[in-house]
């Protein structure tokens, strides 16, 4: 027997493309705009969200029969906030340099609408294993877009990738800059992320017209 049934596999694979949380469900846009000026920040954020969404979905799924429906949103919020604070505290005690890198992301993870969205839409109605796969899948789908956006914004905005000057030195005019190329300062500011995400959505829908909504 395969490790994952076909249905289970689709829980992970669907959000990567045809049911992507950012480009199709339009969740998690805020953090996709905020932290994608650098590739490294995008990767760190993706890993953090994979963890929080995977574990959070399981916790909510286990509690799904005892959560009072009137206050379920607050309960979800508490679960995310607790998870994030626990991770932050443990990192501070045992992996201090890493916690310095993550510090700025803590608030962004708690307010990420993908997390609340998946709790509400999936974990409240499904078992723990399926919820776990759904959480991982959606977080991966989110991460893929973040990394694509981060890649283009850092490359075009700063001429670097993960901090390495891949295009040469813009001030000393070496490498590509010797030909008169300039960094595009617009790519550094958040609106540029909106445009990159827009282009990804455009490409994705023109490749798969089934995704286009009818009016």
């Amino acid at each position: 027997m395969a490790l994952l049934t076909k249905k289970d596999a689709s829980l992970i694979l669907d959000p990567l493309a045809d049911n992507n949380p950012i480009t199709i469900q339009v969740l998690g846009i805020c953090s996709a705009l905020a932290i994608t000026a650098e590739l490294e920040a995008s990767i760190v954020m993706s890993i953090a969200v994979i963890f929080v969404l995977g574990v959070g979905n399981v916790v909510i799924s286990l509690m799904r029969n005892i959560i009072p429906s009137k206050i379920r949103i607050i309960v979800q919020l508490i679960v995310v906030a607790t998870l994030v604070i626990v991770v932050d505290q443990v990192l501070k005690a045992y992996a201090y340099p890493l916690s310095k890198t993550l510090g700025a992301f803590v608030g962004l993870i708690i307010t990420n609408c993908i997390i609340m969205g998946r709790f509400e839409a999936f974990a409240l109605a499904n078992g723990p294993w399926k919820s776990f796969l759904d959480g991982i899948g959606n977080a991966l789908g989110y991460g893929v877009i973040l990394i694509i956006v981060g890649f283009f914004r850092e490359l075009l905005g700063s001429g670097t990738l993960l901090g390495y000057p891949v295009l040469g030195d813009p001030i000393m005019k070496t490498g590509l800059y010797a030909t008169g190329y300039e960094n595009n300062g617009f790519m550094i500011i958040p609106p540029a992320a909106l445009i990159v995400v827009g282009i990804i959505i455009w490409v994705q829908r023109s490749r798969n017209p089934a995704l286009i909504e009818e009016n």
């Binding site: 932290i35 000026a37 005892i66 309960v75 508490i78 626990v86 201090y96 608030g107």
Partner: protein, 251 residues
Amino acid sequence: MSNNTDKNSYTVIFAAVMVVVVGSILAFLASGLRPNIQENERIEKQQNILYAMGVNENGDDAGSVNFIPTDEVEEEFTTFIKEQLVIDQDGKITKNDQAFLIDLKKQLAAKKRGESFQLPLFIGEKDNKQFYVIPMYGKGLWDAIWGFVALDKTMTVQGVYFDHKGETPGLGANIKMRYFMDDFSGESIMKGTQYAGIAVAKGNNDPLNNTKDDNEVDALAGATITGNGVAAMIKESVNLYKDYLETIRVK
């Protein structure tokens, strides 16, 4: 089951139990990890102070920030930092070996309320040269920023270290990158006889920061408010220590 969970009494009890459970988990965790976290923060402060006065493991290339390793920092700190001083509200100076543990944020708040306060200052010595390291604390765009600036007797910056709590990754968070911090070295905090600080300026046509006498360094793109916060923080902190600096300044 579903009928039960809709009752008001169940909702209230569930909320109460959840708060107690989550509260205990967090409280237990926080107190359990506290010694470790404090130790890490202690080491970090020592590393930061040493970094500002140029005791670090940076290579010649303008790459990443490399502190003294955590297991050596205690020893190095006592070797290089000759004196730790505390300046109180009346300008009285006392020696205090634990001055680096003083929380500047609390002291500045006390000063604002008009209560008594203590300002730490560190005198370091490297290659027979004196360094006066001043702690700084201010506001960035989203949250607190802080750091240390090392001065010599002519009030020329010998090195800085900046850090932040929650500036935007890739933009404001870059104040702790070497290419930004290194620009401050060699700048003077004095303009004539005034403690003017150092401005983080946009469009000063000096991206390599060759002009060292203009009280300006090149700003970070996309991080105007964080940059302004850094400039304001330097000016404010330098003015806090003005009276002491005036006594050591070579005129």
